[in-house]
Symmetry: C2
Subunit: 340 residues, 2 copies
Amino acid sequence: MPLPPTIAWSNDGTAVRIIDQRQLPASEVILELTTVADVCDAIANLAVRGAPAIGIAGAMGLVVAARSIDASSREGFLAALRDAAMLLRRTRPTAVNLPWALDRMLASAAATQGEPADISERLREEADRIAEEDRTMCRRIGECGASLIRGAARVLTHCNAGALATGGIGTALAPLYVAAERGQHVEVFVDETRPLLQGSRLTAWELSRAGIPVTVLTDGAAASLMRAGRIDLCIVGADRIAANGDVANKVGTYALAVAARHHGIPFYVAAPASTFDAATATGSDMVIEHRSGEEVTHTFGVVTAPEGVSIHNPAFDITPSALITAIISDTGIHSPPFAF
Amino acid sequence: MPLPPTIAWSNDGTAVRIIDQRQLPASEVILELTTVADVCDAIANLAVRGAPAIGIAGAMGLVVAARSIDASSREGFLAALRDAAMLLRRTRPTAVNLPWALDRMLASAAATQGEPADISERLREEADRIAEEDRTMCRRIGECGASLIRGAARVLTHCNAGALATGGIGTALAPLYVAAERGQHVEVFVDETRPLLQGSRLTAWELSRAGIPVTVLTDGAAASLMRAGRIDLCIVGADRIAANGDVANKVGTYALAVAARHHGIPFYVAAPASTFDAATATGSDMVIEHRSGEEVTHTFGVVTAPEGVSIHNPAFDITPSALITAIISDTGIHSPPFAF
């Protein structure tokens, strides 16, 4: 069964259409986002998530915003556009793709001559270009990464860096899709990825839709699976990569990297070049988003921790570059020492 | 607020009274188990859990069973008792305390002269002795282990090896309770411990009841907390310890031990001597219980994985003795090389 697109324009082209990832795998609900506030909510609440996908969502959100700006002057229009970009930018602080896409959209607007209507038209083209580039980027990552998968392979991944996180076939999952297309036997083990279970809910869903064998495990079970010799390699995505190669990705990634090193298992990060953040020297310069403790205390509506206890709920962690075998990107395979 | 006893006799002495740990922390429900089938269900379904506690539950379950045996001869009675012990023994395969307690009860029955009524009376005394020894054992572990906690300490633990897992103040948590009694500042970080969240549901509940500061985190967040220098030591429990010191404990323990080693953080295991299994040479000789995939696919009633995917859901993992700093027991602090 083909996957519905993660993010696309509605049929009449006025709304951003997404599959509500909070409701997967139980229900496939399509949302149509018609205002910039809708898009902000969808990003902040993880109805759409994954660094590349939220970059596309931000760009498309700015197109939606542009349509509703009531400004007669070019300057007033651009100022209102910057305000809308600021709202979108604040929804998630860690991924670099979102500010990257918004800055690119704003620069494109500023460089466009003419009236607000001309700029709006240009913004729509730029957002479509960002989405199209994302599809191409995913395919390139897939082709680069597939060269690292030899014969049959048992691959461990974490969270979701797949089709649902991008406009294409994913980042971490792209090499697996390409290897499977080429007829290689790929078996994927996926951490469920607490607290929001994007591994079990999303990665397992999209891989099984694609006919790739997938086994879900709790996050705590991955290291013992490595010890049992049942994992050949790990591939994860990234939300931001510092100049030195330190990687911010979903919390739990670092624990996997430590375990992979302990067992001598290759640990790959797959991410588009837009994730490289040359302005950030190392992982310790990155802002890590801490999310509501309710994600831990109220697990899918059930009380799972007593009232009043402290909760430590970072959304991401930093994996130092020393634990990374290679970074697979649309610009090729980067080996240590990294310098982006 | 004092903790209700984890396991005790009902007021009239005929039923095994437990706090239903599946319903914590949302509700404090007391169950009265009046038949051996009730006790088997409670153990198998984790209404009572924790290696020492299920040893006590097994012993008390055999007392309940003995009362309902309708046998005129001593031999018939003992045979029926062995059958009941077999039912209890099959409920959980990994912890050694359950067969240990059952074997001790059966040996005590076999060694008792007289009629079934005399043997029943003797079984009741033996079960009470096992429970009382457990309380004493916990206190000793607490006192031994507290000597390893110097001044203020930030301690990471996994799952629940506390009062709720024993007849006393716990095993892994006992040193923390004793250090807190002595006025030391102990701060506990607890992995929520998927899939059944005994860390967030049970450990956080009992520690916060006791006034000890506790912070809950997802299992994947522990390694990055270590990297941030926020953990001084780890203490976990054990369900079975092989002759060479390899430890079977809740899945995820091994990942923590690997991370602790990577960061140079002491990793302690606290367990009663009844957990030492001299008949099992190494961890690879242990049977690891695999539990229903529904614990992962249906998280507290919500569908959290697509239908038809494979689930890897071991309840335990093996931590090799090489990663263990010391084993804290009621018989003292055991340092490597271990030989039990």
